[in-house]
């Protein structure tokens, strides 16, 4: 089975956001970047499928971005992915751009399955997998917490409001991974050493345009500091009164 896993390079979730000077991106000073947490579930699933299907199964990690993204590709290689591709650009990209770049690269590769995280924790769009699937003419299942592949038939469970949906479709397909799909493995020391020898192919992107434009990035207006109305249960009647009469929410 030929599998691709698309990985994005994002600020650590503990990052305190500061707005950059042009007010369009964050100030990168002091920010640590990591592999997008949801992409770790995608990488793990790709590796499990490779182990299951064996033979000449192969997993390729692909990322769109600049040289710094290689760090995230290396993380995937250290977990056990076979090789990496960096689609290079220095511009700020929107999801449509990223999906166009990925589908352009992946369309001639004969991939049976392409895995994504369900969303990147920077722009939180939750659409790159679906866009790529549609550009490639692949079937797509998003927000997957359970995946079964039998021949070219796929059954998956995806999370929805108040429950799950069981979906059936066929390969080739794109799957976007939700937490709960699996438990991502740690990269072993051996894996980290091996990753240093694996190839990351680099290709420069041209002729792709964004379809949206960021006008301004700003911080939400700070909340008014709240009130601590007590330290024991004697404060409860006052709390309930405030919720009813002042906030009017109960």
């Amino acid at each position: 089975m030929k599998i691709a896993v698309c990985v994005s390079h994002v600020p650590d979730t503990a990052t305190k956001i500061k707005i950059g000077s042009a007010e369009k991106i964050i100030d990168p000073a002091g920010v640590t970047y990591i592999i997008n947490p949801y992409d770790e579930f995608a990488v793990e699933e790709a590796l499990k499928l490779k182990e299951k299907f064996g033979g000449d199964s192969e997993v390729t990690a692909v990322s769109v971005g600049n040289d710094a993204n290689k760090e995230t590709i290396r993380k995937a290689l250290a977990m056990g992915v076979d090789k990496g591709i960096l689609l290079k650009t220095d511009v700020e990209t929107d999801s449509y751009f990223v999906a166009s770049a990925l589908s352009g690269e992946l369309k001639s590769g004969g991939y049976d399955l392409i895995l994504f995280g369900k969303q990147s924790v920077d722009f939180d769009n939750s659409i790159t997998g679906q866009l790529t699937a549609e550009m490639l003419g692949y079937n797509c299942i998003s927000v997957v917490v359970l995946l079964n592949i039998d021949g070219n038939k796929i059954t998956a469970e995806r999370e929805i409001e108040g429950g799950r949906e069981v979906i059936s479709t066929e390969l080739p397909a794109v799957i976007t991974a939700q937490k709960g799909l699996n438990e991502p493995r740690y990269a072993s020391l051996k894996g980290i050493m091996a990753a240093k020898k694996k190839v990351i192919e680099e290709k420069v992107l041209t002729d792709i345009q964004n379809k949206t434009e960021i006008l301004k990035l700003r911080l939400p207006s700070p909340k008014n500091p709240g009130r601590i109305i007590g330290t024991d249960k004697s404060a409860v009647p006052e709390l309930v009164r405030l919720l009813r009469e002042e906030a009017k929410v109960i």
Binding site: N125, I127, E161, G162, G230
Partner: protein, 321 residues
């Protein structure tokens, strides 16, 4: 011919979802500003309450009907919505940012070669150009975005826009769908034990590691029950296996915008705040008065949850009796 705004309205088990009225209201307000017309697409079998959307200012509703389409099928739905958007030459296509909307909107946007912007919480119109606002970095920042494409697709965060009815009455056209493409489809829906989901709830009572163990979560459940609320949890609690992942609120859990969020024994780590800080009102109960959760709580009690929760539940029950 006036230009068109098309909205997708969602049914579940043959009933329109609450987001339908929110989407119709936003479309109506944009259409009024731009001098456009609004149409809606709804897909399914018999839809029990379809008439209830007739008074939300839409010019026309087209109901694509086939009983095989009661359940979601991305392959069939995307063909219908993209096809109708092309037929009407719609310039805007708007979806709810629900699990279905998030799955379907990007597929449609590719078919229409349209830019796409997700999870809108606010918008402004100036000189016929629409600027959309969305939270990024799990709500730690806001981004104003505009389109560079002729056709424009976007989704609206549920629970943010208040539905407003108008005294119009919209024509409903029914089109029967023959042979829908069902290569990708829902074959079964599994409900999570009749409980309210955090993503849709108007009130959430959430428990953290301060609850000490799964055996104490009945205290959270009882308060949630009294308030008609959903139960939420911090990641620490979910990772410890005390509560299921679907209840996790935060950066790697669910992002919620309820009108009331009650955080019990939750410290307020940045990843937790990311998921719930846009709640209209936040109550924190935590014995450590220096916990960061108090920085964003509207009302706090700096005390022991095991003493305060039962009293809180009791007081709410008295109020509702």
């Amino acid at each position: 011919m006036p230009k068109k705004i098309l909205i997708f309205i969602e049914q579940r088990e043959n009933k329109l979802k609450k987001t339908s009225y929110e989407t119709a209201t936003v479309a109506h307000s944009i259409a009024s500003a731009l001098g456009y017309e609004t149409e809606a697409v709804v897909i399914g079998g018999e839809i029990e309450n379809i008439n209830t959307i007739q008074s939300y200012g839409l010019n026309k509703i087209v109901h694509f009907k086939n009983s095989d389409l009661i359940n979601y099928s991305s392959s069939a739905y995307k063909n219908i919505v993209s096809g109708y958007a092309k037929e009407t030459g719609a310039e805007y296509v708007i979806f709810p940012n629900s699990s279905l909307g998030k799955d379907l909107a990007p597929l449609v946007s590719v078919n229409l070669n349209a830019g796409i912007i997700m999870d809108i919480i606010d918008f402004t119109i100036n000189d016929n150009t629409i600027t959309l606002t969305r939270p990024v970095y799990a709500g730690k920042a806001l981004m104003d975005v505009k389109f560079n494409s002729d056709v424009k697709v976007f989704t609206l965060r549920p629970n943010v826009f208040k539905p407003v009815s108008s005294d119009s009455s919209t024509e409903i056209e029914i089109r029967n769908v023959d042979n829908p493409n069902l290569t990708n489809r829902v074959t079964e829906s599994k409900k999570s034990e009749g409980k309210l989901d955090v993503a849709e709830a108007d009130i959430i009572v959430s428990g953290g590691r301060g609850m000490k163990g799964p055996e104490n979560f009945h205290l959270i459940e009882e308060l949630a029950d009294a308030l008609g609320a959903a139960v939420g949890a911090s990641r620490a609690v979910v990772d410890a296996g005390w509560r299921p992942h679907r209840e996790q609120v935060g950066q790697t859990g669910k992002t919620v915008s309820p009108s009331l969020y009650v955080a019990c024994g939750i410290s307020g780590a940045i990843q937790h705040l990311a998921g719930m800080s846009s709640a209209k009102y936040i109550v924190a109960i935590n014995k450590d008065k220096d916990s960061p959760i108090f920085n964003i709580a509207d009302y706090g009690i700096a005390g022991d949850i095991f003493e305060i929760l039962p009293a809180f539940t009791e007081e709410v029950r008295k109020l509702k009796a």
